[in-house]
Structures are given as C-alpha cells and as structure tokens.
C-alpha cells in the first residue's frame, strides 16, 4: 500500500492505495463520492469523467497514484455554494437533458470542461466534444440543447431540428 494525497473539490484528502487502484475506485470507495459512475470500465463511455488539474479525464482509465498531488473535481463539487444547482446542472434539468441519469455526472463534467475552453460553442462543437460520453436512453439531443443553453445561447435552432 502506498500513501496518496490530492485535493478533491477543494478539500485535501489522502489514503492508502494499491498500485492498481483506479482513481474512480479511490473516489467512490475511499472517499464515498459515488456520484462519479463506473459504466463500461473500459474507457469508452465517459460516465466516470472527472477533472484532473482542470482537464477532463476518464477516472476508470487513470491510476489513483497518477493523481497524487493534483486537483481533482467531481460532480459533487459542481453545485453552487448554497447547494443550488449550477448553471450547467440547471440547464440539464430545464431541457430534460437526462432520463435515467446514469451518464449525467460525466456529461456535466465534460460540458464544464468544454465551456471553460470554449464559452460559446456551436452545436457541432458540442457534439464533437461529447464523443467520449455515451448516453443510452435519451439520445444526445436534449443534452446538446442543455449545454447550448448553459452557454447562454439560443436553443431554438436545435429545438426546431
């Protein structure tokens, strides 16, 4: 076992992990942050998306020890300080960007990474950026709409499609 320390959602945390412990297992099993989901466990579906030093990363495809000393952000840290939903989360609710909700934490984390780099993305840019996030129930239409709305842009063009 090896000691690992990082900052998760602004709080310093540490724990003892094995070499093979994945970042997602550290978050879920050691820190009880179960909002980060394990979907495919092969790096394809994006349900486990978190930010590591600001970059979107699939936490099922990264070792916990690789995250030593980094700043990690998960879905649990996304809401506003008063507990209300942040702009992206609220837009997902307003535009029905989720059905079963399993992929939603990953979708929200990817959307946050996109809007940080590109505050006013086009619909095509949103769809391109979501290539690593798979949704198996609603399809992507309302998710794209929600991200468009969260960026403060008109969603009518998408709604009309």
């Amino acid at each position: 076992m090896t000691q690992v320390s990082m900052t998760v959602n602004g709080k310093s945390v540490s724990g003892e992990v094995e070499g093979r412990t994945l970042l997602v297992n550290f978050l879920r099993d050691h820190l009880s942050l179960t909002g980060t989901h394990v979907g495919c466990d092969t790096g394809q579906c994006g349900a486990c998306m978190v930010h590591v030093d600001g970059d979107a990363v699939k936490s099922c495809n990264m070792l916990a020890l690789e995250a030593d000393g980094t700043e990690v952000a998960t879905i649990e840290g996304q809401a506003n300080a008063d507990g209300s939903l942040n702009t992206i989360q609220q837009a997902f609710q307003d535009h029905h960007g989720l059905q079963c909700g399993f992929c939603t934490p990953g979708m929200v984390m990817t959307a946050a990474a996109l809007l940080k780099d590109n505050p006013k993305p086009t619909e095509a840019e949103i769809r391109h950026y979501l290539e690593g996030n798979i949704c198996r129930c609603t399809g992507y239409h309302n998710i794209v709409k929600a991200i468009m709305a969260a960026s403060g842009q008109d969603v009518n063009a998408i709604a009309a499609e």
């Binding site: 979107a56 990363v57 990264m62 070792l63 020890l65």
Partner: protein
C-alpha cells in the same frame, strides 16, 4: 487487474533505471495499457509512470526547423501547441479518440504500441520522423515493423519524436465509429524533395508507405495524379467493420481527399 508496484520518477535516467528490473513496464497515458491490464492480458510486476518527467513533455522547434515533441506529451497538448508550427500534425492529434483520451494519451505511448489502426504512426512515417529513445535515434522507416511491433528493445523508452516540417500536409481519417480509431487513415506530406504517403488502419502489416502514390504525387501534387492507382486487397485487414476490398478502396479515396485538402 493483477496488482503491481508503482513508481513515478522525475527524470529519464531514473525511469530507465527503474525499468531495468525484471517485469517492469512503462506507463504513458494508460489509455491502452490500463484497459489491457484490466483484461489481464499483461502482468507487469512494476509500472514505471512517465507522466512526472518534465524533460519528456512539450513541443518545441529545433534550429533546423524540425518540430520536436516530448515522448510524454499528451495528444491535446500537441493539438494545441504544434498548431502554429506543423498544422497537419496538430490536426491529426486533435482527431484522436475523444477529449479525455487526448488529455491522457501520449505520442510515445501511441508509437510504442503501434496499433495497426492508430493515427500517430501515419504521421511519423508520413513525415519521415525520427524516434528518439534513451539510447538512440531511429528513422521512422526502420521503426515500424508490423502491427504492434517496433524497433524498440525491452526497457527502451521514447523520449522525443522529431518531425521535419513539410510544405503541405493533411491527414484524412475514416473513423470507425465505435472505437474512434481509423478504419483507414492516410497522411500525406509534401516535402521539397518529394511526397510521402503513409497509410494506417488498412494493412495486416500495420502502417505502410504507398510508394506508387508517392511517385505519382511527387511529379504532380493533385488528386487527379493518382485517380487510376489502386492498392491490392490481398494483405489488407478484413473484419466485421470492413472487408479487405473495402479498405483497399478507402486507401485510394482517403489519399485523394488528403491531397485535395493539402494542395
């Protein structure tokens, strides 16, 4: 996943020393290796992470104009930082997988793995790049030795890849939609002394140069110059995603598209 020891050195020298032991393996971005370990297809006793070595990261331009990329540089950094120096290469990096894969996966890992459908091998072979390791420099023409096979020795690590910058270049990728790898990808680069054409995703021998097209394009750099050229279907990959004949056909189509986009 079987368990393993983990080391994260901060210099190339320490990484090479750590890899000297039995059953040690390098870890780049883990985008190929971690799924492989989960399937228990590999059983290293120790993983030596290359992600904490600053001298293996980043993009710079050498005195001779070539673009140097550290072996541990993630695809997303190449897509961003090489854009101004070698746009064709940066565009290729920006098409690998998805944003999260590009944030972790590295050029050294991709070239060491030499997946027959990977993108970077086409850029390295198509640019006549030099693969620099901890012990030597290997010309791309000598480096790729068939699918998943390279000139690398046990414990040897890619520290840098040097790309001579062409006058024009373009990569055309026919995406296999489930994996996001190339069903067929073609990298075309026009240098003062001739044109290079490298094809990935198509051949059972891995990435290869299409010399007939190179010859025709070196005289006349237009899509028209190769409109009658075809590659043999024999030796192409045939699987549920596409037959040998389909891939052979795509090689011609993607090469013409790449030339049209570059010219």
């Amino acid at each position: 996943m079987y368990n393993f020891e983990f080391e994260r050195p901060t210099t190339i020298a320490d990484a090479v020393a750590a890899l000297g032991g039995d059953e040690a393996q390098a870890l780049g971005g883990g985008q190929t290796l971690i799924p492989t370990l989960k399937q228990r297809l590999a059983m290293p006793g120790k993983l030596v992470s290359l992600s904490g070595i600053p001298e293996m990261k980043g993009v710079c331009v050498n005195d001779d104009g070539a673009v140097s990329i550290g072996g541990g540089t993630p695809h997303a950094v190449v897509a961003r930082d090489a854009a101004q120096h070698y746009p064709g290469l940066a565009a290729l990096a920006g098409q690998i997988g998805d944003p999260a894969v590009r944030n972790r996966g590295t050029i050294g890992g991709s070239l060491a793995n030499n997946d027959p459908s990977a993108c970077y091998p086409a850029a390295a072979l198509g640019s006549g790049a030099t693969i620099v390791t901890n012990t030597r420099e290997i010309a791309a023409d000598d480096y790729f030795q068939g699918m998943f096979t390279t000139a690398l020795e046990e414990g040897e690590i890619i520290t840098e890849v040097r790309f001579p910058v062409p006058e024009a270049a373009n990569y055309q990728k026919f995406v296999q939609p489930a994996s996001r790898f190339a069903l067929v990808g073609v990298f075309v680069a026009k240098y003062a002394d001739g044109v290079r054409v490298a094809v990935t995703g198509a051949s059972e021998e891995g990435v290869f140069r299409w010399s007939a097209a190179e010859e025709a394009l070196s005289g006349n750099f237009t899509a028209d110059a190769i409109k009658d050229l075809t590659v043999e279907a024999g030796g192409m990959i045939g699987d549920l995603h596409g037959s040998k004949e389909y891939r052979a056909h795509l090689v011609g189509v993607m090469t013409r598209r790449a030339v049209a986009a570059a010219a």
